[in-house]
């Protein structure tokens, strides 16, 4: 039942991890270059468009409102009929069905709200994605050799949580990239993966080893993998919510006639588009987190004889769950959509990070398996 340990595999794994971190670093530079370059290019396009716009007809101008607050949707559509309006204070959500807005070029333009790939080619971004794919492939080899070396799933201590977690975050990012152009998140996601890999190798390095008996359960595979995947999704939405805050500030500034100081944010879609997509991802991640919580409880029942005991790790998993439940509620509460919801999503993610770092290391509990 116990596979034997293969130290050579473990060493290969560490080499792969380092190579992956190196490749990611180059990808990171390419993503940053893309941001810088595109923002310059967009500015040039803007200037040209502004010239054209000066000659454009007034009808054209009227038809293409710019930026936020250009108008509200449908007047007599009965959006608040009793049977679905729910409890008092419930908001009509910023549903994506009314997310349309002008496509005009001009001050404050941002990327397409659909987050689909546009026509123009962005060479640095393509290089960055290619490098990320390469890095992820090497990283995958690192994770697999680690698993072979230890003869089990590679998530049994902090080192393995970090290396595997970073891989899942990058993989989820790449998967989303297939359908959506989220390349503007590249610097963030890849930067985070690099930090995780470096932290794993320096602060949490652990040689390949067996699992303590308490972790020898198929629930480890189920519970932890879902937790890691949900966390990867939360990572994406955290980045999007942070950008949403910046973007909404920028949109407001521009709408009020201020100068556009954050040129690189042109690459980033409108705040509302960010909010809508991050809501959808958060909803998936929340279901995942619900499963994490439930499977954790089932496992706790098997291992310790009680399904819930307010162990520190359980407390924080619960707190995260409640914060994101709050986020979902906020999106349906009048006055709480938009910026406030984004803050909740950010707070939720900070709790995830806290749960993973501080709680694993400094809090004693039944979950103290960090391998330190």
């Amino acid at each position: 039942m116990l596979f034997s340990i293969n130290e050579t595999m473990g060493q290969y794994s560490e080499l792969f991890m380092l190579l992956a971190a190196g490749t990611y670093t180059v990808a990171f530079i390419a993503f940053a270059w893309d941001l810088a370059k595109s923002s310059k290019m967009l500015r040039a396009v803007d200037l040209k468009a502004a010239e054209l716009a000066a000659q454009a007809t007034t009808t054209e101008a009227a038809r293409m409102p710019v930026g936020v607050g250009a108008g509200t949707a449908g007047g007599d559509v009965d959006r608040s009929d009793a049977d679905v309006s729910g409890p008092a204070g419930r908001a009509e959500r910023p549903t994506s069905a009314v997310s349309g807005r002008g496509t005009a070029a001009g001050a404050g333009q941002t990327a397409d709200g659909s987050m689909r790939y546009g026509g123009e080619r962005r060479a640095p971004a393509r290089v960055a994605v290619a490098l990320t794919v390469l890095g992820a492939a090497i990283h995958a080899a690192g994770v697999i050799t680690r698993a072979l070396g230890a003869g089990r799933v590679p998530w049994g201590n902090m080192y393995e949580f970090l290396t595997t977690g970073a891989f899942v975050a990058v993989a989820v990012f790449l998967l989303v990239l297939i359908r959506r152009d989220l390349r503007f998140l590249g610097t963030f996601v890849i930067g985070l993966a690099i930090i995780m890999l470096v932290a794993a190798s320096i602060a949490f390095w652990t040689p390949v080893g067996h699992l303590v008996p308490a972790l020898q359960s198929y629930w480890l595979i189920i519970h932890v993998s879902i937790a890691v995947m949900s966390s990867a999704l939360f990572t994406l939405t955290f980045a999007m919510s942070a950008l949403q805050l910046v973007q909404s500030h920028r949109q407001k500034t521009i709408a009020a006639g201020g100068a556009d100081k954050l040129g690189f944010m042109r690459l980033v879609p409108y705040a509302l588009s960010l909010e809508n997509l991050s809501y959808r991802i958060n909803a998936i991640a929340f279901v995942g987190w619900t499963f994490t919580l439930m499977f954790g409880a089932i496992w706790a029942e098997k291992a310790w004889g009680r399904f819930w005991g307010w162990d520190t790790k359980e407390v924080w998993t619960f707190v995260i769950w409640v914060v994101y439940a709050g986020y979902l509620h906020a999106r349906a509460t009048r006055g709480w959509t938009g910026t406030r919801a984004a803050w909740l999503s950010i707070v939720g993610y900070l709790c995830v990070v806290f749960n993973f770092t501080i709680v694993n290391q400094f809090f004693n509990g039944l979950h103290s398996y960090s391998g330190l």
Partner: protein, 591 residues
């Protein structure tokens, strides 16, 4: 329930926020409205998250009362204050309970009216056709040529059929009039899912509470060869639930035959760490039942008589024989050694109340692999029995056991005892290897170390609420997924006959709540209709295009292109058919 709903019902134009002149009943109603509002629910949820945090910062009594006592001692300045704030019992504290009880009251106040409203909505017809379909987020028109021979009434029937097949509930209005229309709706499961989710949360809470009332738990240490019988006296420690009755205990038995541990001998970093615990046991469902061989492991509890038996601890139990001053065997058998440090470095306490003329006691350490440093500090070098050693001090006198007050078997109070052997006495301490024995000074007796057995600690739990909690949790997840991924949509279609004989069809879609695939649905319905009427590509280009053509609604450009000049707009005189240019620009929100 909702302010809006109440307003509609009462047909009053007076906003409820006006506080004075409400009276006592009005105040109550106002408070209830506040409590069950979405804002309060959100606030309580966030408060619950914050309130749960201190439980991870301070030691908690239910988890470990001893640590709490120590913590209060160590922090004389604020330790007691924290206690008065119930910060060591966060999850049963008044304030934590208040928050979640309020939350659940709010939840109930929220779910019941919504369930009633939804039940009514499910039985009523889809809402009236709006005057201007073009104002809906998704809108489009189709034109059926005059020679197709499909009049407005037939077109509306066709549309109704198609929508019914697509799962919509359809209501056709004014079929034979000049402007027949239909309203259709689907996705009632969304709201059902939401209600199931929230109701199940109540179910989970109730199940957990019931488990606390009717459950029980206990611990027992079993040395190899020992048998546990599930009766009150069988437990070393027992924690009954509030409503526990001893008749609940089913007298099954568990005998520990053998306990094996595998230690890690491969990896450098964790050399000597246990990697497998296996207990071979013989169980009987009741005293008359046939014996059964079973294996008990960590993560793999036994199920017996409605309880679960968990392997939670283990250690060594040195077997000793102690003779008293009179030469009789005063005690013989294994002594459970309590883990103290690395590599099963364990403490041993032996009390011999039966020794005569004087009672005897021993206290010291057991080391499976004894090493002694140059400084004379002994430690255990390995968890396995490579060089087992028992080092003891001995005492005689009155153990105080006869008074009947309970004592901790793992602790020895030496205040009233006279030391016989100790490191600082001339007699020195007793050091024993298996098979050796030692004669106590002054003819007080002797002790021999006969061998070593292993013991396990088992936790026994009975929680009748557990299964229900699981069922409700699963229901909650099912409800959650349904509510998040079923889309509630409404479709309206209106048809009319143009002067030149063509039949013009317009349709509009509206989503309830979040729905990013509404445009996709609009496109799908459009395709169904054009296929039905064989309109083909030609008709699609020849008529009003749908506002957005992709499968996704997050498009930034969906508003603008509806305004272009098209067949329908140009040729339809009826005002309902005039394309709105209001578009659907980003709705203003409180950002």
């Amino acid at each position: 329930m909702s302010e809006r709903v109440n307003e509609k019902k009462k047909k009053s134009s007076k906003p409820e926020a006006v506080l004075p002149s409400l009276g006592a009943l009005g105040m109550l109603r106002w408070a209830w409205t506040q409590l069950t509002s979405m804002r309060t629910a959100l606030f309580l949820l966030l408060l619950l998250a914050v309130a749960a945090v201190p439980g991870s910062l301070f030691p908690q009594r239910p988890a470990n009362p001893a640590i709490v006592t120590q913590y209060i001692k160590d922090h004389p300045d604020y330790g007691a204050i924290l206690d008065s704030l119930q910060l060591y019992d966060v999850y049963s504290s008044a304030w934590f309970s208040a928050i979640y009880i309020l939350l659940f009251v709010s939840l109930i106040g929220c779910v019941i009216p919504r369930a009633i409203a939804h039940y009514k909505a499910m039985r009523s017809q889809p809402p009236r056709t709006p005057a201007r379909l073009s104002r809906l987020p998704e809108y489009g028109t189709l034109v059926i040529p005059a020679d197709a021979g499909i009049p407005a009434s037939a077109a509306i029937s066709d549309a109704g059929e198609l929508l019914k097949k697509r799962g919509y509930r359809v209501d056709v209005r004014d079929r034979d009039g000049a402007r027949p229309s239909l309203g259709a709706e689907r996705g009632f499961l969304k709201e059902v899912g939401n209600l199931v989710f929230h109701t199940s949360l109540i179910g989970v809470l109730v199940s957990v509470a019931a488990g606390g009332l009717f459950g029980y738990s206990g611990q027992r240490i079993l040395v190899e060869g020992d048998t546990f019988v599930n009766t009150l006296v069988g437990y070393d420690q027992f924690t009954p639930g509030t409503n526990f009755q001893s008749s609940q205990l089913q007298p099954y038995s568990v005998q520990l035959d053998k306990f094996d541990i595998t230690f890690d001998r491969e990896s450098q970093g964790k050399f000597g760490q246990p990697i497998d615990f296996t207990a071979a046991v013989t169980t009987k469902e009741n005293p008359d039942a046939p014996a059964k061989q079973e294996v008990l492991k960590v993560n793999d509890p036994l199920s017996l008589g409605g309880t679960s038996v968990y392997l939670t601890g283990n250690g060594y139990a040195p077997v000793v024989t102690i003779r008293d001053g009179a030469g009789n065997i005063a005690m013989q058998g294994p002594v459970v050694a309590k883990l103290q440090g690395e590599n099963y470095y364990s403490s041993v306490v032996i009390k011999v109340p039966d020794a005569k003329p004087e009672q005897l006691a021993f206290a010291g350490f057991f080391l499976p692999t004894a090493f002694v440093t140059d400084q004379g500090v002994s430690f255990s070098g390995d968890p396995e029995l490579i060089n087992p050693q028992l080092t003891l001090n001995s005492y005689f006198g009155d153990l105080g056991l006869d008074a009947g007050s309970p004592q901790n078997v793992f602790e020895l109070d030496v205040k009233k005892l006279t030391p016989l052997n100790a490191r600082n006495l001339d007699t020195k301490g007793i050091v024993l290897a298996p098979g050796s024995s030692y004669t106590l000074p002054n003819g007080k007796g002797s002790i021999s170390f006969d061998g070593v057995k292993r013991y396990i600690g088992v936790d026994i739990h009975h929680n009748p609420g557990q299964l229900y909690a699981l069922i409700f949790a699963l229901l909650a997840v099912a409800g959650l997924v349904t509510s998040l991924y079923v889309n509630r949509r409404r479709v309206w279609v209106r048809t009319g006959t143009h002067e030149d004989g063509r039949t013009v069809v317009e349709y509009g879609l509206l989503a309830r709540g979040e729905d990013h695939r509404l445009a996709g649905e609009a496109a799908a319905i459009r395709k169904l209709l054009s296929d039905e009427w064989l309109l083909g590509e030609d008709a699609t280009t020849g008529s009003q295009p749908a506002p957005s053509t992709t499968a996704d609604n997050d498009r930034a450009d969906s508003a603008a292109n509806g305004a272009g000049s098209t067949h329908a707009t140009e040729e339809q005189p009826a005002e309902d058919f005039i394309q709105s240019t209001a578009g659907s620009s980003e709705s203003k929100k409180d950002q």
